[in-house]
């Protein structure tokens, strides 16, 4: 059965953005001193709280999934980050593909950074009707977030800079971005490999085309 598809125009924009990212990667030269690595990668488990009542569900949906992000450091402060995630529920499947600028502030072995990402959100509701095998919505995604990467013993830096537990920080994001919460736990750390754990929070706004 047919599933509704996104507009071709928006697909072209998304593909173009990813090509631009890879072009910058291929053409840039690393001129600064070797303070920051050229590449940084992040991947791990991700939890997403989906505002399902807005599409007629009775309750919000707790979705489990994964998240992968890569950052190419143009300078020691500025990077381009690309983020991909997938989240799954019994009747919901959500994919996000985003890219955008990232600013990092590094001190000693610690790093604080924030980014604003833009891209595509592809959501599928797994219901079967007389004419469709599922309902798919493809729209824009905007994400703003940040991360604290502890420089010393991670046990001391489990809180965010404000001193509050990280889950409260995520909740505050949800109040500003009315759609989603997300908490991620990495399976692989950034370089240098001495840091064992980081926490991240994101608010993601999904807008249907």
């Amino acid at each position: 059965m047919a599933i509704e598809r996104a507009s071709i125009h928006f697909k072209k924009i998304a593909v173009s953005a990813f090509f631009l990212f890879f072009m910058i990667v291929a053409m840039a030269s690393f001129s600064a001193a070797q303070i920051a690595p050229r590449w940084e990668a992040f991947g791990g488990y991700s939890y997403r709280l989906f505002d399902a009542p807005t599409i007629g569900f009775a309750n919000r949906a707790n979705l489990n999934g994964w998240n992968a992000e890569g950052a190419f450091n143009i300078t020691t402060e500025w990077s381009i980050a690309a983020d991909v995630s997938g989240h799954y529920g019994s009747q919901l499947t959500l994919y996000n593909f985003m890219i955008g600028p990232q600013y990092s502030w590094r001190k000693d072995k610690s790093k604080f950074f924030g980014h604003v990402l833009f891209g595509k959100a592809q959501n599928t509701v797994n219901i079967t009707t007389a004419t469709r095998g599922g309902v798919e919505s493809v729209g824009r995604s905007v994400a703003a977030g940040g991360r604290v990467r502890p420089g010393l013993d991670p046990a001391i830096h489990l809180a965010n800079p404000s001193g509050l537990p990280q889950h409260t920080h995520v909740r505050e994001l949800a109040k500003r971005y009315t759609r989603f919460d997300r908490v991620g736990v990495p399976l692989q750390t950034h370089r240098p490999p001495s840091e064992a754990l980081t926490y991240r929070g994101h608010g993601v706004l999904h807008q249907n085309l």
Partner: protein, 351 residues
């Protein structure tokens, strides 16, 4: 901190995050037939505010010109009478989303089914066939919702337009506006037997309903713009006239809730509210009645909590929500409504 303690802390944080996502607001689902679109519009409705949220995938395709709709008491199935294709469509209701999935094939009825009725246990379904002048009866499979005919359709008098089944499912009252009459049938597990000759009840009887206590039957008369009260004999089903009271212009819908009777007046575009004396059946119009209905009312449906009255308006192409004052029966139009873009035919709610 050791690695295992760190991992435990991670799980604790995640658990707290999950708990932040817990909890839900109470809702019910409204299914509204839209005959012009051959579809059913589905909305999730807040129990507290009557806010309508369209359910993903809505509207759902039905047969040709769906009119009456009923939800099975289990909340698992919905039945839709298709006036032009002369059949009943069965839908399975998704318990999480509330979406509808039709189960084919459809069940044939007589010509032009305009009304449906079901017993409170959901064991049988009746369809009133206006052009065919018959009533079709079906048993309902509790597991699949499938319909199975109970004998051949039972004949009625010419052009029946409405009927009402008593809560005990012992008697069925069928309106014949052309004759100005009502016909009584006894019901035994869905099998119908005519119990009496037609009884004259008015000039153009337009709506009928039985009160939940089975003591009274109310019949609206669109020609005289009145509503009449009859006492109901619980042994024979016989009706005895008690009194008549004036309503707004062209009453076409009735609803009894608690101690109040609500009458939808299509001509005067409002709703008359009457208190009911539980002993004598005497109707008394409440203070400030009639109330604004948000459009010419074509059907009235009570929400499961008894807090709101939903009013379908064919001219307004909407279903509006009105709050009910439980002590006075007074109605107040809220800002909540469901837009169907075309005239709604009927409405059913699930809890």
């Amino acid at each position: 901190m050791t690695r295992s303690n760190r991992f435990s802390l991670v799980l604790t944080v995640l658990g707290l995050a999950l708990c932040l996502g817990c909890g839900s607001s109470a809702t019910h689902i409204a299914y509204i037939t839209v005959p012009s679109l051959n579809s059913i519009a589905a909305f999730r409705v807040s129990d507290s505010s009557a806010h309508f949220t369209s359910i993903v995938g809505s509207p759902f395709l039905a047969g040709t010109s769906p009119s009456a709709i009923m939800a099975h008491p289990s909340g698992k199935f919905a039945y839709v009478a298709d006036q032009t294709s002369n059949d009943i469509a069965l839908f399975k209701i998704d318990s999480t989303v509330g979406s509808l999935q039709e189960v084919l094939p459809r069940t044939p009825t007589g010509l032009t089914p305009v009304a449906l009725s079901m017993d409170s246990g959901g064991t049988f379904l009746l369809a009133l066939n206006q052009v065919g002048n018959t009533i079709s009866a079906y048993s309902i499979d509790a597991g699949t919702g499938a319909l199975k005919p109970l004998g051949v359709p039972v004949a009625t008098f010419a052009s029946p337009t409405a009927f009402s089944l008593t809560p005990s499912a012992k008697f069925l009252y069928v309106l014949n506006p052309n004759l100005g009459s009502v016909t009584i049938y006894t019901v035994a597990s869905g099998v119908l037997t005519q119990a009496s000759a037609p009884i004259t009840v008015g000039s153009v009887p337009s709506a009928i309903t039985v009160d939940p206590s089975e003591k009274f039957v109310y019949i609206a008369d669109a020609g005289a713009s009145t509503v009449s009260v009859f006492s109901l004999n619980s042994s024979t089903g016989a009706l005895t006239f008690l009194n008549t009271i004036a309503t707004g212009t062209q009453p076409f819908s009735l609803l009894v809730s608690g101690m109040f009777l609500y009458v939808g007046n299509t001509g005067s575009t409002n709703i008359s509210v009457f208190s009911v004396d539980s002993t004598t059946g005497v109707l008394t119009q409440t203070t400030n009645s009639p109330f604004s209905s948000g459009g010419a009312p074509s059907f009235l449906v009570l929400d499961p909590k008894g807090k709101f009255l939903y009013v379908g308006s064919q001219s307004g192409k909407t279903v509006s929500a009105l709050t009910i004052d439980s002590s006075t029966g007074a109605l107040t139009l809220t800002a909540q409504s469901a837009t169907t873009n075309f005239a709604p035919g009927g409405m059913a709610l699930t809890k």
